[in-house]
Amino acid sequence: MFEQLAEKIQRTLKFIRGEGKITEKNIAEALKMLRLAFLEADVNYKVVKEFEARVKARALDQEVMMSLTPAQHFIKIVRDELTEILGGEAKPLTFAGHPPSVFMLVGLQGSGKTTTSGKLARYVKGLGRNPLLVSFDLKRLAAQDQLRIISKSLNLPFYGMTAEKMKNPAEALKELMTFTRNRGYDPLIVDTAGRLHIDEELMEELRLVREILEPTEVIYVGDAMTGQDAVRSAQAFEEKIGLTSIILTKLDGDARGGAALSIVYVTHKPIKFIGVGEKFDKLEVFHPDRMASRILGMGDILSLIEKAEQEADLKEAEEIARKIKKQQFTLEDFRKQLQQLKKMGSLSGLLDLLPKAGPFKKMGNLDVDDKKLVYFEAIINSMTPAERENPRIIDGRRRARIARGSGRPIQEVNQLLKQFFEMEKMLKKSDFQKLMKNI
């Protein structure tokens, strides 16, 4: 996500780095580049204009223009403003002081509320909570069935709501709360019918549900692919219902994600999670500051480390890190790493988290076909322990044997060795070593 926006913005920063002094003229040029990048990423026009005005005002400040590294200053301003728009630090879910907490999901049709309800339930279950799912969507056909099936597949309780019960909503909601409380469920996750923000009648219904259930979280579920309209609908939900946070969905596509900026900007509510796939484990905590770094090409090492911590065997990882520092990284370590990598998800997703400059610059061009990892592993498996420790002993005959053993063409064996040697070289570079010391 955000790749194209990131690329355009980085081009702007590169341009400004190339300029010795900051003048009104090159600031104007840089701002124009930024504006286009944002507009092409579907950030709302008005949000872009305000962003531009704020960056401009700060950039033309005497202090910046007189400073020795004006370009660095400019980049810092852009980063500050971007982080500011995206909402600063990550914010956790709010649970009620006295359980049960109620999380209510609202939004337009097709934004992904029901799927997100399932993901959220799974997530809080992982926190040791005991969630109950309910859907107030009595409008869309089979909406109840959908959440019931989801609950079942997640092995979580589901509360069936019917049109009959909802004839007296106040009564039905009270009953639901009593049920939740008596059974000790916490949180109650409430899925609602998708609605247009201009549909007064349905908005009134939501307001009623909100009043009676007093949710701790009213979460706006927004589609990351939304265009300029994102501002209007999110704002209407904020004004008419009142929101506490945002979940952005469908970020596994190639949308440029400008809607994220627009929605946060107009609602002043934090994005707490992002949805990155159709399966129920595809929900990630959102970190605005890290995202700003990623957009500006500064990478997101923290997320990478967290991912590694979640999935990887820590001892093994430390061992590998130690070897990298000592420059004793072997093919055997590479094989172990491949196995851990597989657990962490797709390789291209991981590469996304790396800074686009410095020692990692070349990695952007790496061919990231996940199938290749499987082949690489097969090839390494066909090597003797001695070969894995010291690949330099692998001559032509050994290569032919390895190719036969792994069932891969000999060119692939050559390619693997070549890439390994390149990696070895990269790891020896001083700036990489410096980076490792800091981690």
Binding site: L36, L39, E40, A41, D42, N44, Y45, L108, Q109, G110, S111, G112, K139, R140, L141, A142, A143, D145, Q146, L147, R148, I149, I150, S153, L196, H197, I198, D223, M225, T226, G227, Q228, D229, A230, R232, S233, K250, D252, G253, D254, A255, R256, G258, A259, E278
Partner: protein, 294 residues
């Protein structure tokens, strides 16, 4: 028909009433063009298409000396949208596919098309080829019940192509006129899911010569510039014959279809303007632009 669209879109007016004021004021041309630029951007037309439209408008205004920028813009947009033939292929029997990303409104749109042709006396059958999403088949099944139409479905998790195959056998045996295939929502970035779509199409073509007659990309009018990428990718894998633009009853303008038509030469064929099976309009460039600018 114009009235219905206008009425439905009436809630979306505020911004275009601003446009109205703008047209009537007598400010310098460049200033007006600048504001038109902003309005088109806000309607999701996208930077490059907007640039092209505005510079075309500037040229024409210069050439003709016309001060009526509104009429010119309207003409410009209508020309752009009607550059591709939008006629629906209504030869029977026919198999139509609905494809698109998640949450665009494929199932509801399928129900709308079913209702439309059923009302015209056609025998319509539905195939629930979304075997992935929870209760997707049930959703179509309920629509079938509501409209009193047969729905062919498979096991949850079954190969959608096999469901479509079964549907075609039943469709042929019972001599129906129209088979609407509702496919699972998929993001165009997953090549395995796109290949699955290709397979469904292959099965249809193999079983009935000349089918599918229509492959409609269901496009949500609230989507921004990603609409172009979606159209391009779905077209590459399944060969789109037209666009079904949904959710036009909200405040989104669906201006991204201008970019789609401009860059990919794909016609818009239908518009969805509500949640009921009746909320369907055949696309007309004039009424779309009229509604957009009025």
């Amino acid at each position: 028909m114009f009235d219905k669209l206008k009425q439905k879109l009436s809630k979306t007016r505020e911004i275009f009433s601003r446009m109205e004021q703008l047209f009537q004021s007598s400010r310098p041309r460049e200033e007006l063009l600048e504001e038109l630029y902003e309005l088109l951007i806000l309607a999701d037309v996208g930077v490059s298409t907007t640039d092209r439209i505005i510079s075309g408008l500037r040229d024409r205004a210069r050439k003709t000396g016309s001060a009526d920028l509104k009429a010119l813009l309207k003409q410009e947009l209508v020309n752009l949208l009607s550059s591709q033939p939008a006629a629906v292929n209504e030869t029977w029997p026919a198999v139509w596919m609905l494809v698109g990303v998640n949450g665009g409104g494929k199932t509801t749109s399928a129900a709308k098309l079913a209702y439309r042709y059923q009302s015209q006396g056609k025998k319509v059958m539905l195939a629930a080829a979304d075997t992935f999403r929870a209760a997707a088949q049930e959703q179509l099944q309920l629509w079938g019940k509501k409209l009193n139409l047969p729905v062919v479905q498979g096991q949850s998790g079954a190969d959608p192509a096999s469901v479509v195959y079964d549907a075609i056998q039943s469709f042929k045996a019972r001599n129906y006129d129209l088979l609407l295939v509702d496919t699972a929502g998929r993001l165009h970035t997953y090549s395995n899911l796109m290949a699955e779509l290709e397979k469904i199409k292959r099965v249809i073509s193999r079983e009935i010569a000349g089918a599918p007659q229509e492959i409609l990309l269901v496009l949500d009018s609230t989507i921004g510039q990603n609409a172009i990428v979606q159209a391009r990718e779905f077209n590459r894998f399944s060969g789109i014959t037209g666009i079904f633009l949904t959710k036009l009853d909200g405040t989104a303008r669906g201006g991204s279809v201008l970019a789609v038509t401009d860059e990919l030469h794909l016609p818009v064929k239908f518009m969805g303007i509500g949640e009921s099976e009746k909320d369907l309009l055949e696309f007309s460039a004039e009424s779309f632009v009229e509604a957009l600018l009025s």
